[in-house]
Symmetry: C2
Subunit: 433 residues, 2 copies
């Protein structure tokens, strides 16, 4: 019998706790969560704001009571871990109590960046937790703001912009960067800008946002501001306990999700992720890898030896019906990583035109030296997730473009064209390799 | 300068001709097509019947005139190849003329099986060519049949049933086999039967169809009958010329798509396909591989050396909004092929429920000895093609289930769930491996 302590009870933390307990029911598993809710799907919060569900709490999968009673996991909410002593194998909690452990899992997640002067004003929000989403909703209902600025053009910024627009506000998306999604893809930025503009949402690039005013951001009038400028790993508690951080500032882990400190694991948004295309650690906080890492950290804390092979940087975001999927490296990222990057981009119907096929844009990136596929970006109103997943699988398997171009992909008129846009892009890329 | 003759001008043939001419414009490329049309998308014919387009001819991509004038390909329609003499490197045509060649490509396609007594009656149809589809449409308009029987529950049978139903007929699908899609999957058969029954189309399995009556098929009243009981390769002409056929009855080719006879290639539905999961030749006639093989045979006939790596048996069919995707081996097929097959099947929402996610059913099949993924079947109203393509890519790369379960797949609520149904199925399968 061993004691497993998990700090953080959202995606990685609760996945870890549940898996450890399932694999070894004799473990005493305790989860410390400083918030009120555990196991909630934070990715659904923009859709709560959009009005897809009445209560943000419906994103909660399990209540602490359920987890305690049905799963035998000691879930403690509303209490924070104040410090960790690896020497004593003990966590000191904010209520003054101490929690001993044999294995400890950091699943402390990330927090939205807010480091801008003026960010503490009451009309400035982030959108990461249930209470934050509820606060935005209450502000919308009570104060009836008319003009919104979303700072940041990443996944969350775009989703927040859509949600605010659906609430009837005038919305501007503003980013300090030159591009959406931080991938250095001007063509993608242009495509997205054109699309969201049709829905009345302008995209303002390279904005000099140095502070947030009381009724404007960089000259853009704003009754409400949502900050979506990225996340910072909650790694301080671990660092203070002697756990090594990587160059990204997140907790460094090996493929068993062990940290440098014996008996301490880390999983999810507080930890680094091995990028399988570059073989470098990156910080790429997403719910998908948080859940996968949680399960593995939980298994290993319970005495198993499972390996997390890393990520390929897959992501997707929808805005006003347009899907934007990415995996691996963009051309710019590939060049930065030292590859001799070649890219090809095509537009082709996603399905047979007579079945209502809409255009899909596919850019594929490859390494000229090895011929290996390095990344893909797919944009379209149909089938975007499936195409990006196909490319992600190819990246995982390190396929060359030549191999990729011969993939036996499905075709029938309601679903694709006889040459899938992915294959057309691969053929185009082969000409340049 | 060399003379390239291509027999057959639909998918493989015209792909071959166009590629050869593009790679070596000095080639004299001649295409012999016994029908009236070339380069048409035969897979669209059921959708023409369904009413998605006014004229079946809109499925034609290029006219012979265009190909002659703009591409410099000598396309001869309405003329058949009667015999081939490899010794004289010559094709004898039905108009009595002779066509010399330096390289010959058989792209003679396949023909619908019709070998049933009574199949020659005027109300019995197949659905493979533009004239056949037009004949069905004319029969529907002029004779106003009320009751239809579709014999065959493969891709084309299901699509034809949907098309006839959309024309207001009472439709029964009847098959001599015990299952749909010839994969030995009773659970899939049940799912499909239940779905099409909701649209008023019963599925009659294990039917003893030994002949077709004047107003019934095996006791089922029928004013019109569509035969969709599979395809037979048009390999006779090649066989008579000394080209070796494989055990499937189709033309045997190597990965350069060469036959056993020097200077003769074969591509598309007249040829065998290497199945990459079993490493055995199979007969799996589909437009996707026909186009791929055509390109490669054309390139090689023009002096290049490209390789066709084979297929993994991917296919998809839609019926009344339900997508059924398959790739690799079903459990029954895997056992037949000598694998120690293990399968797991799950049902899970395709997307977040609050975004309108509908159930997706995924069955994965693996080999217990190697842990390798062998096949997948995906059924659902959303995202079926993308999931089957992801699995097809994994099969191509010979991923194990363990590797598959860690794929970095895309998630955002409008597109998927945080654990994609594919990954849930893989986790389930891992428990049984």
């Amino acid at each position: 019998m061993s004691r497993i302590a998990v700090i953080g009870g959202v995606a990685a933390g609760m996945s870890a706790a549940a898996r450890a307990k399932r694999l070894d029911p004799s473990c005493e598993v305790t989860v410390i969560e400083k918030g009120e809710y555990v196991t909630y799907g934070a990715c659904g919060l923009p859709y709560f704001l959009e009005g897809r569900m009445l209560r943000a709490q419906s994103l909660v999968v399990y209540t602490p009571d359920y987890l305690r009673e049905k799963r035998g996991i000691d879930v403690r909410t509303g209490v924070a871990a104040e410090s960790v002593s690896p020497a004593r194998r003990e966590v000191v909690l904010s209520d003054g109590s101490r929690l001993g452990y044999d294995r400890l899992i950091f699943a402390t997640g990330a927090r939205a960046r807010t480091g801008l002067p003026g960010a503490a004003q009451p009309h400035i929000f982030t959108l990461q937790t249930i209470p934050q989403a509820e606060a935005i909703q209450a502000f919308l209902q009570e104060r009836k703001p008319k003009r919104a600025v979303v700072v940041g053009a990443g996944y969350l910024g775009l989703e927040a912009a859509e949600a605010l627009r659906y609430n009837g506000l005038e919305v501007t998306v503003m980013t300090r960067g030159a591009n959406v999604l931080r991938r250095g893809e001007p063509w993608l930025t242009e495509l997205v800008a054109k699309h969201i503009d049709k829905f009345g949402v302008p995209l303002r690039l390279s904005a000099e946002v140095s502070a947030i005013g009381s009724d404007d951001v960089a000259g853009e009038p704003a009754d409400i501001v949502v900050l979506a400028v990225g996340f910072r790993p909650n790694a301080e508690l671990a660092a203070e306990a002697g756990v090594m951080l990587g160059r990204t500032g997140a907790i460094a882990v090996n493929d068993l999700l062990e940290t440098n400190v014996p008996a301490i694991y880390a999983a999810g948004d507080c930890a680094e992720h091995l990028h399988r295309v570059t073989a470098q650690p990156v910080y790429h906080p997403l719910g998908t890898s948080a859940n996968k890492m949680g399960r593995i950290a939980g298994a290993n804390a319970a005495g198993h030896r499972e390996r997390f092979p890393g990520i390929v940087g897959t992501g997707i975001v929808g805005i006003f019906g347009l899907g934007i999927g990415v995996t691996g490296l963009s051309a710019a990222m590939a060049r930065d990583a030292g590859f001799d990057a070649v890219a090809a981009r095509i537009e082709a119907p996603s399905r047979a035109m007579y079945m209502g096929g809409r255009p899909a844009t596919v850019e594929l990136v490859a390494d000229r030296r090895s011929g290996r596929l390095l990344g893909a970006t797919v944009v379209g109103e149909q089938d975007t997730a499936g195409r990006i997943n196909t490319a992600a699988t190819a990246l995982t398997a390190r396929l060359t473009v030549e191999e990729f171009a011969q993939l036996d992909l499905a075709y029938a008129p309601p679903f694709a064209t006889v040459w899938d846009p992915l294959l057309i892009a691969a053929q185009q890329l082969l000409k340049d390799l």
